[in-house]
């Protein structure tokens, strides 16, 4: 390990596609062991920002630095050893087993012409087990439920053994139970020293697990602060155009949690 604390930083990033700027001047950082939630409306540029941070899309301005090194100077394998990516669960194309899907996370640790060894298989199976998928190892990825696929993609990122993870809406299209399961896993990752930046549509998830919240609106970062400072009725109104109450509720366990409740009769802001 070269740096004591792994970090992924975007400095004054301009990002977007050729001929189509999506965001400007965004500075954002992720360090090992913390959870950063990226909130923003549909089409607000969250996925584009993530692609830029991962080096999948060249930055149009500014810098992305991984442990202080400019991303452009690193090979894909070097990047993959330091930061992994959990995309939104997709249907997949070919009927790989869950074990094979997770095993693919080991690729950055293999030389270009090598296939995974027994040790890699053991790591993949441990990652499957950690996410409660051990019994599904021989099942076909394209035939399990969406929640199981999403968990498999998280297991795959774990198998990659990178200290930082970028997750693009890991709870999108998951049912209530699977959302809670995925969030539990995200918290467990952070507790084990891994840094997670995740996009989400649900501010309650940020209150539940985030150390910091970044609010992306119209291509600019309008807040980067602990959840209680970043998520207020004022910022929710600015970002989502609705009125919402931000209240503390006392759970059956006695714990207090902050949640957002949209006012009824919400109309689109003019």
């Amino acid at each position: 390990m070269s740096a004591p604390v792994a970090s992924l930083e975007g400095v004054a990033l301009d990002f977007g596609y050729p001929g189509h700027a999506v965001g400007r001047g965004v500075s954002i950082a992720l360090r090992a062991g913390e959870i950063v939630c990226l909130l923003g409306p549909n089409g607000g540029g969250k996925s584009t920002l993530f692609r830029t941070l991962l080096g999948l899309l060249p930055a149009q301005g500014g810098d992305v630095r991984l442990d202080g090194d400019p991303l452009a100077t690193l090979s894909r394998a070097a990047i993959a050893k330091r930061v992994s990516y959990v995309p939104q669960a997709h249907a997949g194309y070919f009927p790989f087993t869950m074990r094979d899907v997770v095993l693919m996370g080991r690729t950055a640790h293999l030389s270009p012409f090598a296939a995974p060894t027994r040790r890699d298989v053991a790591i993949a199976e441990a990652c499957l087990a950690r996410l409660g998928l051990a019994a599904l190892a021989d099942q076909v990825y394209t035939r399990v439920s969406g929640g199981e696929r999403q968990l498999a993609l998280i297991a795959r990122a774990l198998a990659q053994e990178a200290p930082l993870v970028v997750m693009d809406e890991p709870t999108a299209s998951l049912d209530f139970g699977n959302q809670a399961r995925v969030l539990d896993e995200v918290r467990a990752l952070a507790a084990s020293g891994i840094g997670v930046i995740m996009a989400t549509h649900d501010p309650d998830q940020a209150f539940l697990c985030a150390d910091r919240v970044a609010l992306l609106h119209a291509g600019r970062l309008i807040a980067d602060a602990p959840p209680r400072e970043a998520i207020t009725p004022a910022t929710l109104r600015e970002v989502y155009g609705i009125d919402a109450d931000v209240i503390d509720v006392t759970l059956a366990s006695g714990e207090t949690r902050r949640v957002c409740v949209p006012r009824s009769g919400v109309r689109f802001a003019t």
Binding site: R76, A80, Y85, A91, Y93, F94, F96, M104, D138, R156
Partner: protein
């Protein structure tokens, strides 16, 4: 799982052995199994076989090279098909559909037309095959907003039509007494003219194509997830993609320059291999190659034994391949979704 793979290995090996045995035994001059065994034994031990020299000549000099060519070409076409399918995340593509075979055919016909030596014919076939697949992928990537699976297939059909026109033009220009019949029969696909000389240039090309595919077998799996995910997992996708396309095109071009366009093998065989061992390219590649070898040899044996005249291979593989593929399409769409 491993028991299943052992079973598959046994079955494919048995299919190959049966195909080879039959190919040696049947034909206009049938060879008895006992004679075959005696000849094989004599070659292994170096002792005389006691079989008549005519029979020995038929087995070694007539059927041997042709069987070798069928095995090598079947393996090459099926392996190339498996590679293209994984690479393009598309179980409906193959060397023929991507225009590789058509491009290679244009190159080879051009070589025959200019009366070039076999090595130059293969070089031209390879170059035109690469140009064709580049054209198809360019068109497919330029047409956005549609089902990419279908766009790629359609682009292949379009480029294939254009290449067909080029071949037709060359045929019109060709000498109608010497070149035209040769080109026409060769285009339909045949191993009748497969001489040891051709094999000597095609086998190394096929081997050179196969090795990178085998070395990159794990990375090809990741390419089948899509470029972004593969890159995020540490794969230099552009390099791997180019290496796989060049390798698979080289194998296809080598096959086309010997036997003309033998369609369907690259499309159908990888399907069945995938059904048997799953999509992991490290298993898919060898199983496709062995099944392809056995299939083309069986088809070639049919081609030279069923009728008085030799039936072109392309005709037979289409007759066998089309229904098999339709059956696949209807029955197991879920196997790739």
């Amino acid at each position: 799982m491993t028991a299943r793979h052992a079973w598959v290995a046994l079955c494919t090996a048995a299919a190959l052995a049966v195909a080879v045995g039959l190919a040696f035994a049947v034909g206009r001059y049938p060879v008895a199994p006992g004679d075959l065994a005696a000849i094989a034994w004599s070659k292994l031990t170096g002792t005389p076989s006691g079989v008549s020299p005519t029979v020995e000549a038929i087995v070694w000099s007539v059927r041997g090279p042709r069987i070798g060519a069928a095995l090598a070409l079947g393996a090459a076409l099926a392996a190339a098909g498996a590679a293209f399918q994984s690479l393009f995340r598309n179980p409906l593509v193959s060397p023929d559909i991507l225009g590789v075979s058509g491009g290679a055919a244009v190159g080879a016909v051009l070589g025959i037309f200019l009366a070039l030596p076999i090595l130059a014919i293969q070089g031209l076939a390879f170059a035109f095959g690469l140009i064709a697949v580049a054209l198809v992928t360019l068109i497919a990537s330029a047409v956005r907003g549609h089902d990419p699976l279908l766009v790629l297939v359609l682009a292949g059909v379009l480029v294939g039509a254009l290449l067909g026109a080029c071949v037709a033009l060359l045929k019109v220009l060709a000498d109608p007494y010497n070149q035209l019949p040769a080109i026409t029969f060769w285009l339909l696909g045949s191993l009748a003219g497969a001489a040891p000389v051709d094999l000597a240039t095609a086998l190394p090309a096929i081997a050179i194509g196969f090795v990178p595919l085998w070395l990159l077998r794990w990375r090809v799996n990741l390419l089948s997830l899509g470029d972004e995910e593969a890159r995020a997992m540490g794969v230099e996708t552009t390099r791997v993609r180019l290496a796989v396309i060049a390798s698979a095109t080289l194998m296809t071009a080598a096959a086309v320059s010997i036997a003309g366009i033998v369609g369907w093998i690259g499309l159908v065989i990888p399907h069945f291999a995938r059904l048997a061992v799953g999509p992991d390219f490290g298993k898919l590649l060898p199983v496709s190659a062995i099944l392809g070898a056995a299939f083309l040899l069986a088809v070639d044996t049919l081609a030279r034994t069923t009728a008085r005249i030799e039936i072109p291979l392309g005709v037979l593989t289409a007759f066998v391949g089309t229904p098999l593929f339709l059956w696949q399409l209807v029955r197991s769409r879920r196997s790739w979704q």
